[in-house]
């Protein structure tokens, strides 16, 4: 067994090698608009064997490569290797002019276009949609308002019931917290400001990470994973200003998804209208999206085909750890495989109408 001295030695050796590479699964950019891009992944020698493609929607304020962190720690790599046709949105970095982008712009215009672009490449004109964290909130809103091209919905640690969103809900509902003043001052809300509010959720997290590092950094595999995750954790993007204001006002304060008053570009986005197969995944030690906040989705939707997967672990670790490769990823793959065709989904789809 090794100890902290060995860890310090390993860290010193590792310093010269720089940060580990991330997002290495081969991919093509199949569409681009403003700052966002649609990526399609491939594995050498593997042809997609499933009919329905999968669209991954990461959080708007984090980089997409958390879903493709490193070889062996990549949900995308794992899915592609098993014959899934995988697409992922890269939201890019908002420019100063994107302060005017609203929730509806991102959800309806951008996410909607991504869904249609993926659906267009599928024989049935539909796509499985997986939204992670805030991406799950976007995917849920979109599916509720425009279900046409969505074969199924997976809400992975996605906040839905904002009344049960913990300290973040309390903070954003504080009367002296003026979201308009922040947006007016900064335009796009700077990521360090948001990072600070996440730190507020668990102020001892940095100290815990340091202790874990001292304890295990002698293990090269652990150290690589740790550095890759930290690289991702410190590579965030700012929140488009108007979108942030909508997010706080309509979701954190108004809790419009659960109240049934949410709209997207003027169309009702009622959870009760979601009737496609739906899977909610929540994590026991998730301090960012508490279990009750995520699982509330299942209480509101109409779909008879709904599942809940509760797993141990935290908001990020449970998605990228080695343990995820044993439980979460195979379960997701099996869930999609069982709903690969219209017959399996139990839904007769009209041909895509082109309505937007």
């Amino acid at each position: 067994m090794k100890g902290p001295i060995d860890s310090l030695r390993a860290l010193a050796r590792r310093l010269g090698r720089g940060l580990p590479p991330v997002g290495q699964t081969p991919h093509d950019v199949v569409f681009a608009e403003n700052k966002w891009r649609l990526l399609r992944f491939r594995a050498p020698g593997v042809t997609p064997s499933f009919r329905t493609p999968i669209l991954l929607v990461p959080s708007l304020i984090n980089r997409w490569y958390i879903l493709d962190l490193q070889p062996g720690r990549s949900l995308i790599e794992w899915l592609v290797a098993r014959g899934h046709d995988v697409y992922c949105i890269d939201w890019g970095t908002p420019g100063a002019e994107d302060r005017f982008l609203t929730w509806d712009d991102v959800c309806d215009r951008y996410l909607g276009r991504a869904v249609r672009q993926v659906a267009r490449r599928s024989p049935d004109g539909v796509a499985h949609v997986l939204g992670y964290c805030l991406g799950g909130t976007l995917a849920t809103t979109y599916t509720a308002a425009r279900p046409d091209h969505v074969a199924s919905l997976v809400a992975l640690a996605a906040p839905i019931d904002f009344a049960r969103a913990g300290i973040m809900a309390t903070w954003t509902r504080t009367p002296t917290f003026d979201v308009g003043a922040i947006v007016e001052a900064f335009g796009n809300v700077p990521w360090p400001l948001m990072q600070a509010s996440f730190q507020m959720l668990k102020p001892t997290l940095t100290a815990s990470k340091l202790v874990a590092l001292l304890d295990r950094a002698w293990d090269d595999e652990f150290l690589d994973g740790f550095l890759a995750t930290e690289r991702w954790g410190n590579d965030n993007v700012s929140f488009p200003g108007a979108c942030y204001r909508d997010y706080i006002d309509r979701l954190y304060r108004g809790n419009e998804l659960c109240a049934g008053t949410m709209t997207m570009s003027g169309r009702p986005a009622r959870l009760a209208d979601i009737d496609c197969p739906t899977l909610v995944v929540s994590f026991g030690a998730d301090h960012i999206v508490p279990d009750a906040c995520a699982t509330a989705l299942l209480d509101h939707i109409a779909s008879p085909d709904r599942d809940l997967l509760r797993l141990p672990g935290g908001h990020v670790g449970a998605v990228v750890s080695r343990r995820a490769a044993d439980r979460l990823w195979p379960m997701l793959s099996q869930w999609w495989a069982a709903r690969d065709t219209d017959e399996e989904r139990g839904i007769a789809h009209d041909p895509p109408s082109g309505d937007r």
Binding site: N34, E97, R116, A181, P203, R356
Partner: protein, 102 residues
Amino acid sequence: MAASNPMNPWHLWKQSFGAWEQATATYMEQVMSNPAVLGPAGAMLTAAMKTKAATDRAIATWWSAVGLPTRRDQERSLHKLNQLESRLLDLEEQLADARAAR
């Protein structure tokens, strides 16, 4: 097997750190969700934001008074261009759908 020995100093220190961390995290969560903390924190943040916005507005007013486009003007123009690009992409999609339907 020194580190696995429960009497190992590092192991003991980790145990005490774990206990401290758990107690502190619970305490901090209570402090951070206390309206007596959040209220003044929100007020300070809002005041700082309003001061920054007022300063930016004053600079922009002076800048536009000499006939130069402000940062906000440029942001608005770029945003309009992005919206135009999106509309064009909408039209392309509608055309593709119409062609496919024929």
